[in-house]
Symmetry: C2
Subunit: 488 residues, 2 copies
């Protein structure tokens, strides 16, 4: 590969420089005290471009998906990492060059790959019905073997998937084990159609509901409660003509409200209602629940566009320092007339990549775990250079019931990636367990996997798992108990 | 693995911190202009301990062998890296702990592994008769598949190996393709027996000659000319009682001469003669040749013990700054009465890991390539810390005919590893080709593979192959042409 990667912030520095290797480390070095009881695998995925962009520049979200698996057993941790062998990646390797243009714009790809699936499979990984699914919201999932990480191929749930797309943020119902999931632009690029599915733990589709959004726009994450499904329609719209003209998939619309489509899970979709909030950027769902009449949704919301790579029509984005951001509680009163939506901040700081105790997904809950940005904390610009995009210098535990937060700041060079929560045992109380997440040590070109006592995050990690290799900034992942992997 | 590696120089810093990962990088990023004509694989091996030492401390040379393979084709380079799955490593992985004690002292190992082969297979790799042989001088080789790097197992050349040991520095006769090789301590620990073998390109043993040295001592490398074999017996002696008492395998003897055992290749060994030079440390062979009556051997020789981990009987080693070191030409006059051995320096600087154009092995030649230490050049102690052991800050091309040297110093943070020479094509004149070697960028925690025009080393690399992972300091390796690998 004789075309070097661009020297832009998306491809340089120890957080964003492509890592690109696949392989294993047997028995990672661990400092501290690793609890023997942690038994299972932490799967997570990063965009990591196999080749420099065909167009000379690109955004972080367009890298090829590479999966890391950390398997915990008897106090030991083994590491494995493999690319998802997407159609896109296989074509690139055969050509030994990138063949792909603008993010999620097939019209800008090399003619040789215009009929191939365009998914990078780089956003999330989840185990369902014995398969590891690598997810990107513009496509069906890719299925992989969860033990070997070998790619099986594109996965349409044995013909049951009727949509062109599938979310990167499905939920698993903690009682039934059902996969609760959706697709947007579900009939293809720029279509306003949305589908909601429930697929049982053995892979059989139980429910399929179609609705139409007011317009085609991004629905990155969603929320599910015991009775409702909520689709946050973001002010990032899609236009087919723009795509055909080689433009960006998404464009920020400062004049549009945030929309929240709410429908009953047991209905046919005709009951969908769209609630509104002032223009803003809806982040990932921490959790949501309902009490029959009221729906509560916790998610970080920012006052404007944080995706600098999807500017508004005049090409601009607001300076980041002009934006405010908090974890918000949205309350939707389904019995109110008109727009019964209220928002109350749950934090006084900016945070993202929120996770809860998955056993309480969709149920009333207390504990949330996020990574946070505190711009007042020291930053080692001398050794690292300018502060990178998405530099999360804190880990935080939120008690959404009391509003209290415990935070941990490592040092002036450490950037957290999305953590996951692992209960101490299957019957442990909510939030009684471990928070596990990657932490990049930017000045040391190193990456550690940190294990915290979830109730004492502010005391720092109880175990530091040392990787001998640097990992690139990643996106999302999930924990799978060893018993579940063994039973598949 | 909850026992951390020791915080000693052998296990810390970006040159010596264990790397431990196995895997692949498809299509490494290349800066500069990679010549399309370079076609083949550069195999090399490093000691890289799977586990922290059982005894709490250890030396660099005792790490488990891990092989890196860089495959060049059409201007692209792919990377693969795998541990040699030695009996020793398999036992450690099963126990998830080190089971091995003092370097090359089986008596200090855990009882569970005392009957297992003790080789780390960490010193050199060479392709012979279709197999990749991973070599450690205390054992038979391990054979691996040269394409997959999968370990086949201990290799006794289909029962033809009669010795307990096999050198890490065999030579390949450039005319016949025969493997010219030997073993010392060839009847087991502390035996003074030496065996010399010639094994043809198809793996059939053609010659086997046994001699007995004046005493058991290290013979790390050797030399072969068209008519002679030369064994440099180093003043690093072996004593069985010391081994049984848990001591070091080797002990420096400041009162012993350097010895050089010379025998005819076509004889039965009874003609062996031992030539002497004043006490000193014989390094690796650059090359050797004879004109019938005179033998010429080029190797770096240091005035005293450079292996701080093998001290003399009082436990001391000379301070490194008191030692002098040069590439030396040894001339042995086989017709002289008495000790017809003379030494003349070929360089004014210290160097090691010498390599020549392998097509001239044992023949009169001109071109040598070494890595060198220039203590007067700047060193970035502020970012790196203290200068590590074996910090080679220069690459050099020696013309042994004219005595001229061309050197290249990269910068104050770069440390070279052993280079290899690749001819431009099979019929290119001697030294007309490329020098390829790893270079650790200590302050950047990075490793590059550099490609130089062999005749213009002083102009710097023509191509820089960027690894996204840090490699540990390695030992030796070899180039294998693509045509040879394809034909196996």
């Amino acid at each position: 590969m004789t075309t070097p990667f661009p020297k832009t912030p998306e491809f340089t520095g120890t957080l964003y420089k492509p890592a690109r290797f696949e392989g294993e480390v047997y028995d990672l070095e661990i400092e501290g005290k690793m609890p023997d009881e942690i038994d299972g695998t932490f799967f997570q995925v990063a965009p990591d471009p196999q080749y420099p962009p065909m167009l000379g520049k690109d955004m972080f979200f367009n890298g090829d998906g590479i999966i890391s698996a950390f398997t915990f057993k008897n106090g030991h941790v083994d590491f494995k990492r493999r690319y998802v062998m997407t159609e896109r990646l296989k074509a690139q390797r055969a050509a030994r060059a990138s063949l792909h243009g603008v993010y999620r714009n097939q019209y800008t790809n090399d003619p040789s790959v215009q009929d191939l699936n365009n998914s990078t499979a780089n956003t999330n990984v989840i185990v369902h019905a014995g398969k590891l699914l690598a997810l990107k919201e513009d496509s069906a999932p890719y299925a992989l073997d969860p033990v070997t990480l070998e790619t099986i191929g594109l996965w349409d749930f044995e013909g049951q998937l009727t949509s062109a797309t599938f979310t990167a943020h499905p939920k698993i119902d903690p009682v039934s084990g059902d996969l609760l999931c959706f697709g947007y632009e579900a009939k293809g690029d720029a279509t306003p159609d949305i589908v909601y599915y429930e697929i049982d733990a053995l892979g059989r589709k139980k429910r399929e509901t179609w609705i139409v959004a007011p317009y085609a726009a991004m629905i990155h994450d969603f929320a599910v409660t015991e009775n409702y499904v909520i689709f946050p329609l973001m002010p990032l719209t899609v236009d087919l003509e723009r795509l055909k003209n080689g433009g960006r998939h998404f464009q920020w619309q400062p004049g549009l409200d945030q929309l929240f489509g709410v429908l009953r899970r047991d209905g046919d979709g005709r009951d969908v209602r769209w609630f509104t909030a002032p223009n803003g950027f809806q982040g990932h769902t921490l959790n949501a629940f309902d009490d029959g009449g009221r729906i509560y949704i916790d998610m970080p919301i920012t006052s404007g566009n944080i995706f600098y790579f999807f500017p508004q029509s005049d090409g601009t984005v607001p300076p980041p320092e002009t934006l405010s951001s908090n974890m918000m509680r949205l309350t939707i009163d389904m019995n109110a007339r008109g727009n019964g939506l209220e928002m109350t901040p749950l934090t006084s700081f900016a945070c993202e990549f929120p996770r809860s105790d998955d056993r309480y997904m969709g149920r009333q809950y207390s504990h949330g775990f996020v990574i946070a940005m505190d711009p007042t904390k020291p930053f080692d610009e001398e050794r690292i250079g300018p502060r990178p995009f998405q530099f999360f210098n804190q880990l935080a535990h939120l008690d959404v019931t009391t509003g209290k937060a415990k935070t941990w700041f490592a040092d002036a060079q450490s950037c957290f990636q999305e953590p996951i929560f692992v209960p101490k045992h299957a019957d442990a109380p909510e939030g009684d367990g471990y928070v596990i997440g990657l932490c990049n040590r930017l000045a040391d070109c190193a990456t550690d996997l940190l294990v915290f006592d979830a109730q004492h995050i502010n005391e720092g990690p109880i175990a530091t798992i040392k990787l001998p290799v640097r990992l690139r900034m990643s996106l999302h992942g999930n924990w799978v108990a060893g018993s579940k992997l063994a039973a598949r």
